[in-house]
Amino acid sequence: MPKVTVDGTELEVPAGATILQACELAGKEIPRFCYHERLSIAGNCRMCLVEVAPGPPKPQASCALPAAEGQTIRTNSEMVQKAREGVMEFLLINHPLDCPICDQGGECDLQDQSLNYGRGATRYDENKRAVTEKHMGPLIKTAMTRCIHCTRCVRFSEEIAGVDEIGALYRGENMQITTYLEQAAKHEMSANVIDLCPVGALTSRPYAFEARPWELKKTLSIDISDACGANIRVDSRGREVLRVLPRVNDDVNEEWISDKARYMCEGLTRRRLDQPWIRKGGKLQPATWEEAFAAIKRINPGENIAALAGDTLDCETMFAAKKLVAALGSTMLEGRQTGMDYDTSSMAAVNFNSGLAGIEAADAILIVGSHVRWEAPLVNVRLRKAVKRGAKVFLIGPDWETTFGGEFLGDDLSLLGNLPGHVADALKSAERPAIIVGGGAIAKGAIPPALALAAQYNLVRDGWNGFNVLHLAAARMGGLMLGFAQKGGLADIVAAKPKMVISLAADEVDYTKFADSMIVYVGHHGDAGAHAADIILPAAAYTEKAGTYVNTEGRVQFAEKAVFAPGDAREDWTILRAMADALGVEVGFDRFEELRAAMIAEVSALGVEGLADYGNVLPDGNAAPVSVVIGYPVKDFYLTNSICRASATMQRCSAELIDRDEIAEAAE
């Protein structure tokens, strides 16, 4: 623990800390462009110069200099100020003065820091450098003349994303950042380089020229595009969500979000249901709320009612539906839309017990039936970190392009009971072995054999729980906690032939099985569910309601309401409350606070932000795995829910990044 003095304040810093970190601990702000906490140190922007004694009598780049015992650091001396002004002047030599038309304006590091270190006028009267724009795909807009060569984007794609695609070509003044042959950046986290870019060289293409940061209302929310529950900030203006940015949460998403989480918000303004619809004579006709509720009253299902929860729902909506169904005397609730029927009596057996951050510490990982890159890009980042620390990764399932190496063992589930020798050895000898059971495997009944494997290899031990289930739906864990799971899955409900099915934005259900039921769709997009509906009640999307979400590791998180739902659409719980009136039953809440209180009274864990405690005891899994080929449920990363399916950007990504080869062939 070296002791250093920063501007006269003496403090102890952790061993291995850099001078920049020491200064931050002392509360001094050090300007920087290339340095980033989560990336390797490059030390090439030179903005973080400080004066260090003992040492050479010149300013030192603090980001790359280890703090040592007895150093005296000055961050505000005249030498430092002058040196930084010099660096800034050099950076600005080739930087265009196009801030008024630059999308980074208002949130630009260079702009902010030139306020402190910039000269009022330029002394440079040569020609400025100009660089051609580079194509980086449908998400990243480039203006490479603005680039200051910090190489954050290069380091991100190499170190975090694990896809070496961005590089710095040529050298010196001619250096250019580009992808190979200007191909599109092709991974699921690519747009994070937009946040990383300290200037306006890489900006968001769909958001180009949409708004200025100071016009936007910032709302803290939770991402619902996958089950990781990434912490996001929703930026909105008026009634429109303009963009989604990540929030820092080291336990969940660090400071990254997937491209889908970032750009599906564009789908919130398209294909929206903004008024009720009623099917008359086989055709959906616009209606008023009164007509819709009258129609529901006419159905009069009694106890013959079921509720199906979609993948993106908040807990409050599911709880309100549960109350309504219960008040009518039914218990038919299901959220697993594709018919999965795994046992949910123990939540620990369906949870990502190691935790998203914890999986980094695993040293042997067996992934069963999960295309992690598409199903949970944030987990993929963690797996890559684990492998960098020396973890061995084995995968069962069809091949996909991993970013962390790993060995594919085959795509037959029965491998689970008959692991090859070296895999078994690796799991046995590991200190913190882990298994990740993905959606593709769960659907084939992999949880019981995985539990047996967990017991066999002692995956749960002191201070470590290596049994993990990786869900795909943001609503899944919350739904399971609230009891949205029949013993026989969706088949139970189909067999019961309910008179009325409340579909809560459930778009993945095969509604042909419910041909005899009246389907009341409470959702926000005109997607598959709405097409099958008999009555459509327009509801709110995730940005338009406050809600509680539980991610795949059982982390309870709260999202706030950013904007109002469009047109006549209402928040889901109010619709369900009004439906209770129409059906003549009492659900016991009139206000959102009452609903939330009732929910917490029933499932207390939903009231506390943070990890829900499911215990460490796994049930016995006795079944031997059957021999069945695993498939992955996600066929197209960019089009997994109704919101992103409505987003033009996501459709373009899908066309350009996933189906591109097929399109090229078709054109020939």
Partner: protein
């Protein structure tokens, strides 16, 4: 320095170079270069392999050689590294040619010492022969590049042609060198000053004179 750029990725380029593999001669050299580095560090051999590939391309085209994109992709594959990293190396170092060059790549040093000693005359002579900076002559013989210091300031001005340096040049001497090369001969590399071997002072040593004949101890009478 000439503005460096990549040769465009065209179907013709792919067709011509897509099937690039080592000839046995270069393959054994490539293997030896890779074997110099420990397991898992094969990509350290990228610079050597790029050089070999450029030379093999040179042999195949009868020029000094260059690096077509498919060849760089071939090297990336053989070293199991991302192609963008290979491209970064190839674009950084100016001795890797990114576009086709002629049989002789004439690199004229134009940095201060050479300029003071008459590199402008050299460039003028080259221009008279139809060479243009950054271009290859129509007969495919000459590519002219003006480069920065090559470290031969003691024998300035100098020109590097393919693997050889020609130093102490004058307009007449570079004419002679170029004539010889064009005729298919091999002019003497190094200094062109009669009586000079390398970069020693003209007219005999000016310092350390006692060292010429014996190992003199300058420390005094001890």
């Amino acid at each position: 320095m000439a503005d460096r750029h990549l040769e465009p990725d065209t179907p013709e380029l792919r067709e011509r170079w897509g099937g690039f593999t080592w000839t046995p001669e270069w393959e054994s050299k490539a293997k030896a270069a890779i074997a110099r580095y420990p397991d898992g560090r094969q990509k350290s051999a990228v610079m050597a392999l790029l050089d070999f590939a450029q030379r093999q391309v040179g042999q195949e085209t009868g020029t000094q050689g260059w690096l077509p994109l498919p060849v760089m992709e071939f090297i990336a594959r053989s070293l199991d590294m991302p192609v963008i990293r290979v491209l970064e190396v190839a674009t950084f170092y100016t001795m890797y040619n990114l576009v086709p060059v002629g049989k002789f790549h004439v690199q004229v040093c134009g940095t201060t010492p050479c300029m003071l000693r008459g590199s402008d005359d050299i460039l003028e002579t080259c221009a008279k022969r139809g060479m243009k900076k950054g271009h290859t002559t129509d007969d495919g013989l000459w590519t002219l590049t003006e480069v920065e210091c090559m470290g031969n300031c003691a024998t300035a001005p100098m020109v590097q042609i393919n693997d050889d340096n020609f130093e102490d040049l004058t307009a007449q001497r570079i004419e002679y060198v170029l004539d010889e090369l064009a005729a298919g001969n091999k002019p003497k590399a190094g200094t062109q000053e009669p009586g000079r071997h390398t970069s020693e002072p003209l007219g005999g040593p000016t310092t350390l004179k006692e060292m010429v004949t014996e190992n003199h101890d300058y420390r005094g009478g001890r």
